[in-house]
């Protein structure tokens, strides 16, 4: 009997597996992912914890944490359940964070791509505009936009995107400027591919990895901006928000500091998780870059 060896070299693992392995090598990134998943679960199960309204009176005002099991993390000065507010606040933070990030990256990609691809006077005009936006203190512009548009959650999200698109625009522009002279772009152009198709189908996929990593930074900053607005009482009054909880907690800081400390810790952990995730994504997507 003849034995035919049909053994082939092991197939290359799937791209997703490779990315995951590089990501998981970074312990801190795994911790970030863990915290992020917890916040995600909080946002998803908010309705189970408090089916009616997190802003309703749930118990005796200023019950300390771990005293009454109906309100495990205690209540604020209006008797609102801190745990319920915390879960609903996770919803608002993630919602505003994700949407503002997507919107600002979309604006940044379009402006950066057009600027970097075409160059010349278009680039001049768009870059001066970008500089003008960077020159105005972002939080002051955010205040002005909220003062004009009003402070519903939709407008706040849009306003945060309007003050955050400049950095991704500059990054995309730099990538496009270095990629537009490459052979594969020349080849596409010689084949008669349209400018729009070259920008979005040929160059953009190659320019994306640093943008994906930067998205985690914008996400973190958006959450901080939203919480600062809500802290100052300029957020959407119809939704529970971590920033607003801290703002309310300020009034009882002397006696019941947990009212501010609990949501504050939630913001720190959430923002921290995005920073750590960003580092992991960087390891996974830009493996050649040093450490």
């Amino acid at each position: 009997m003849t034995h035919i060896t049909t053994e082939l070299p092991k197939p290359e693992p799937h791209r997703a597996v490779l990315l995951w392995r590089r990501f998981a090598r970074n312990r801190a990134a795994l911790l970030g992912l863990g915290i992020f998943v917890v916040v995600l679960i909080m946002a998803a199960t908010a309705g189970l914890i408090e089916p009616t309204d997190p802003l309703r009176r749930a118990g005796v005002p200023l019950t300390k944490p771990f005293v009454d099991w109906a309100t495990p993390l205690g209540t604020d000065q209006l008797g609102r359940d801190i745990l319920a507010s915390l879960f609903y606040g996770a919803r608002i933070s993630l919602l505003v964070g994700v949407l503002a990030t997507l919107l600002s990256i979309a604006i940044g990609v379009v402006i950066g791509a057009v600027s970097g691809y075409f160059g010349g006077w278009i680039d001049d005009v768009l870059m001066r505009t970008t500089e003008a936006f960077q020159t105005i203190p972002n939080f002051v512009l955010l205040l002005a936009l909220v003062a004009i548009l009003g402070s519903s959650i939709e407008y706040i999200t849009v306003a945060i995107a309007i003050v955050s698109w400049t950095a991704p625009a500059r990054m995309v522009r730099a990538e496009f400027m270095s990629l537009r002279g490459r052979e594969f772009v020349d080849a596409a152009r010689n084949l008669g591919v349209s400018n729009t198709a070259i920008i979005f189908r040929e160059i953009l996929p190659n320019a994306l990895p640093p943008i994906v990593v930067y998205a985690s930074v914008i996400m973190a900053l958006s959450i901080l901006l939203e919480s600062a607005l809500a802290f100052l009482g300029l957020g959407d009054p119809n939704h529970a928000s971590w920033g607003n909880m801290i703002g309310q907690g300020r009034a009882v800081l002397r006696s019941d500091w947990y009212c501010a400390a609990i949501p504050g810790t939630a913001i720190i952990l959430t923002v921290l998780s995005f920073s750590l995730l960003g580092e992991g994504l960087n390891d996974a997507l830009n493996p050649r870059q040093k450490k």
Partner: protein, 329 residues
Amino acid sequence: MTLHLPPILTYALRRLVQAVPVIVLIMIGTFLLLKLAPGDTVDALVGDMGGADAAYIARLRTEYGLDQPVWMQLWLYMVKLVQFDFGWSFVYEESVATILLERLGTTLMLMATSLSIAFTAGCFLGAIAARRAYSLTDNIISTIGLVFYATPSFFLSLMMILLFSVQLGWLPVGGIKTVAGFYTGWDHVLDVARHLIMPTAALSLIYLSFYLRLMRASVLEVADLDFVRTARAKGAGETRLMIHHIMRNALLPVITLLGMQFSTVLGGSVVVETIFSLPGLGQLAYQSVIQRDMNMLMGIIFLCAIIVVVVNFLTDLLYARLDSRIELA
């Protein structure tokens, strides 16, 4: 040395010319925001007077140029801004420029001290972390940096108030000076300094993390470059190497960040000044939003933009002096 001056001057001039379109765009931007806001100057004026008849309102509109086409209004607005005329504040019953000038000093003092501390300490800690990369020291410094980066400035401020004012009673809760103190001379200076410790510390700690992270990455990158190996091979000691060869080059991107971040820090002062009741531009911005004082808010935006342009200009010049690779001509 005198030979070096002309190219630096031409470089400076060119940078100034580049700033002009940016400032014009900001003028157009604040004009559009004012147009978007509900109500105009005459509405505010009439509201202030408690109502007026239609003919008088029409005359006021002509007087303020509000019956002109939009582009003409924009032109008039820009001419006024160039003369530092930001309009009238109906909340303060005073010209916006006067109020802004009163408030400017506090904010600039807060910015200057916080940024100097954040920059110096951030670069120092970042360099230490990079030289002992992946050691326990590095891990501790980097973790602290990450945590402060993630902490909202208002939360940090509140926790500092809780610890240093409420629990320990060491520092005042807010304000720029003791209300009934009537201190003079050195006592006044010390009193103001005591009031500025917490706001300065809050801003410094938050922004320190930016410089720390960038400096660490920058030193790691520069330390691997050829010229460092050459200098080491020629027998340069590690301290000399660090100060003369690595730091000098690693500082360049951090200085760029200092210029770019300045507008963010100015924005961050809104929250901190509001919490500590410091009478600066940031607190004024918050109050203007609450009181719907749009002229004031736009005045603040424009003044802040000018400050940022000036600071960017100065950091550019500093960069050009430090980095010989930049062509000045």
